[in-house]
């Protein structure tokens, strides 16, 4: 069965989106300097601010859809990740290709008791965006046990 992420991830994503405002403000600050110092036209700054608003609003508006489409599924042979609000992307990671599983938590995720589960193969790294700390540890153990079994079968 495909599992959904915990609902608290939506709040974490919202905060993450608000943090992007900071970077946009840095950019707009630079544009403002250019307007003052090199007499760039004013609309450059307004364009920057407009792009910031548009980006943040779209990102916030998409969070419920992003949440609704995010699924992960672990079968005995593979891990499947499905994500994306506008473009839905499904990735199949065979258990036997998995090299290691890393648990990672940014300060925002930690504040909500969440952890990201990174699944690495010899050339790719995919991520389950955030699950509760207990689930993360259980997923890691489950995937690594399956991977060990897959390797034993091959040997």
């Amino acid at each position: 069965m495909a599992e959904q992420l915990p609902a608290s991830i939506k709040a974490a994503w919202r905060i993450g989106t608000l943090i992007t405002i900071f970077w946009w403000l840095v950019l707009c600050g630079l544009l403002g300097c250019a307007v003052l110092v090199w007499h760039w036209p004013n609309w450059v700054l307004w364009l920057g601010l407009g792009a910031m608003l548009l980006h943040v609003i779209i990102k916030l508006a998409l969070i419920p859809y992003r949440y609704a489409t995010w699924r992960y599924r672990i079968t005995p042979t593979a891990v499947y990740l499905t994500e994306g609000a506008i473009t839905r992307k499904e990735t199949a990671i065979p258990i036997s290709r998995i090299q290691n599983v890393t648990l990672e938590a940014s300060p925002i995720l930690r504040a909500y008791g969440l952890q990201a589960v990174q699944i690495q193969t010899a050339s790719t790294a995919d991520e389950i965006a955030g699950v509760t700390t207990a689930t993360a540890a259980a997923l890691r153990d489950q995937i690594l046990t399956l991977a060990q079994e897959a390797r034993d079968d091959e040997a």
């Binding site: 499947y80 839905r88 992307k89 499904e90 199949a92 990671i93 193969t121 010899a122 050339s123």
Partner: protein, 487 residues
């Protein structure tokens, strides 16, 4: 086994290599004085003294590196010790070696020396795991013997290879002639000609210009022709010497390529370690029915420092690719299967997407010219239009190259087009790392899906992406990849 040092000639090579690496510093140093026009003797002398100190330091660093470097061929692997302050000891088990590259410059031949690069699948470093700058050729023979304990331990030269392919002179000629490598060379030459004006001493330029003013047009034309001919000649000679007497041999499970006039390059790799085989043809070579065959390996510098891919056949007639390659790589299909391609009615999407990419660049250029460069508006508008046409053509080309075919439970063939070049990948299921499919909201009702196969290539990932395939085709590939799960 006792640790051995590199051959003393290695020191010369190390110093030479470092000097070449830092040569821009030297060139810049002198050019600055020279271009100022006033050739002040004091300035030149002080620059020369400064550069001599830099050269001395470089030589000293090489000396320390040479002095601290030791290698040991053990029973299970090769051990390399190096470093003055930060001592390093690297152990590479023979079984982990992905590719072994031997490079013998012509001046090393009389001494029976060569450079060895040993590559594993380790992801840690950008550089080769181990490079032995100059060692006797018997070192490589010994390593090869350790790598294949199952094969009789005799000098490899005495081993009769199972299959041999030699690129004939005619094929090589065509390869060099159809190379697009001439474009960067010509660009470089044009830049030089353009810059020569700024960099040559002012007085000299003025006198030349005065004498030749009335010949300006003839001179410009002559210069353009000269640049073209010179560029093509350089590109041709470079490729010709690079692939001079190219041979591919198969001995047991090992493929070995040998090539090169000035530097003889030998690369060996186990067939099982080849992640995928790629047949590549630029649009120019497609017109001539020529294809290049490369092997994707899980180690960097398989072939060249700038290229991860091991060239298995520099050039072969497109119709004969599989027939020629199959004796070397048994899992390749004997004939090209029919590919499932995106339906004709979706080809315009490729063209639109490519044109859109160019449109952003063109749009920015237009805005910039409108604001800051009014006299150039016409030119920029024309250029932007050309760019859009180019993008559309590129997309339309890519659409026609896209296709996929599942051969059997273990093999798949994927074809795509990039930058006016067709790439056909022959892939085994066992070397596909992950597969993903993507579908936007508006693609869903049309039943269109993008497919990506991720392969290990060099130290990174090679994503083979096929766009706008039928959803059913993509589901079939997902099922091929993971037959036990529902898709």
């Amino acid at each position: 086994m006792k640790p051995s040092r590199l051959h003393p000639l290695a020191l010369v090579l190390m110093i030479g290599g470092s000097l070449i690496k830092y040569s821009p510093v030297f060139i810049f140093g002198f050019w600055r004085d020279f271009a100022h026009g006033t050739l002040n003797q004091e300035d030149v002398l002080s620059t020369a003294a400064l550069l001599a100190i830099v050269a001395g330091l470089i030589a000293l660093a090489s000396l320390v590196r040479y002095w601290r470097f030791r290698y040991t061929l053990g029973t299970s692997g090769i051990t390399i010790e190096s470093g003055l302050w930060r001592k390093q000891s690297t152990h590479i088990p023979y079984a982990n070696i992905q590719t072994l590259q031997r490079q013998q410059w012509f001046f090393l031949q009389p001494f029976g020396l060569e450079r060895l690069s040993i590559e594993t699948a380790g992801k840690a470093d950008k550089k080769a795991e181990a490079t032995l700058a100059a060692v006797p050729t018997r070192v490589a023979v010994a390593i090869e013997a350790h790598r294949h304990p199952d094969q009789p331990v005799t000098p490899t030269a005495a081993d009769a290879p199972d299959h041999t392919y030699t690129a004939d002179a005619h094929a090589l000629n065509l390869y060099a002639l159809t190379s697009l490598g001439v474009i960067p060379i010509i660009t470089g030459l044009l830049w030089l000609v353009n810059k020569a004006d700024d960099l040559a001493p002012k007085a000299w330029v003025a006198s030349v210009e005065a004498t030749l003013a009335h010949l300006a047009l003839a001179l410009t034309l002559g210069l353009a022709v000269l640049v073209l001919v010179l560029g093509m000649g350089l590109s041709y000679l470079n490729l010709w010497q690079k692939y001079y007497r190219f041979t591919l041999t198969a001995t047991g499970e090992t493929l070995t390529t040998t090539r090169g006039l000035l530097a003889r390059n030998t690369v060996s790799v186990r067939t099982q370690r080849i992640q995928a085989v790629r047949a590549k043809a630029s649009i120019l070579r497609q017109w001539c029915h020529l294809t290049t065959v490369q092997g994707l390996t899980a180690s960097r510098a398989a072939d060249d420092e700038s290229d991860d891919d091991l060239v298995l056949m520099p050039v072969v007639t497109t119709a004969k690719v599989l027939a020629t390659m199959q004796p070397f790589i048994a899992w390749l299909p004997a004939t090209m299967p029919p590919l499932t391609r995106p339906v004709a009615t979706t080809r315009w999407r490729f063209a639109r997407n490519a044109a859109m990419g160019y449109a952003i660049v063109a749009g920015l250029a237009l805005v910039a010219s409108w604001l800051w460069w009014p006299p150039g508006r016409l030119w920029v508008t024309g250029g932007a239009g050309l760019l859009l046409v180019l993008g559309t053509a590129q997309g339309a080309y890519a659409a026609r190259q896209t296709g996929v075919a599942v051969l059997d439970t273990n093999r798949i063939v994927a074809q795509s087009g990039h930058w006016f070049a067709q790439e056909t990948f022959f892939i085994r299921r066992a070397t596909v790392q992950t597969v993903s499919r993507a579908q936007s909201l508006w693609m869903a009702p049309l039943g269109l899906t993008h497919l990506t196969l991720n392969l290990r290539k060099g130290n990174g990932n090679e994503a083979v992406t096929l766009k706008y395939l039928n959803a059913a085709t993509v589901t079939a590939v997902m099922t091929w990849f993971q037959p036990h799960d529902s898709h």
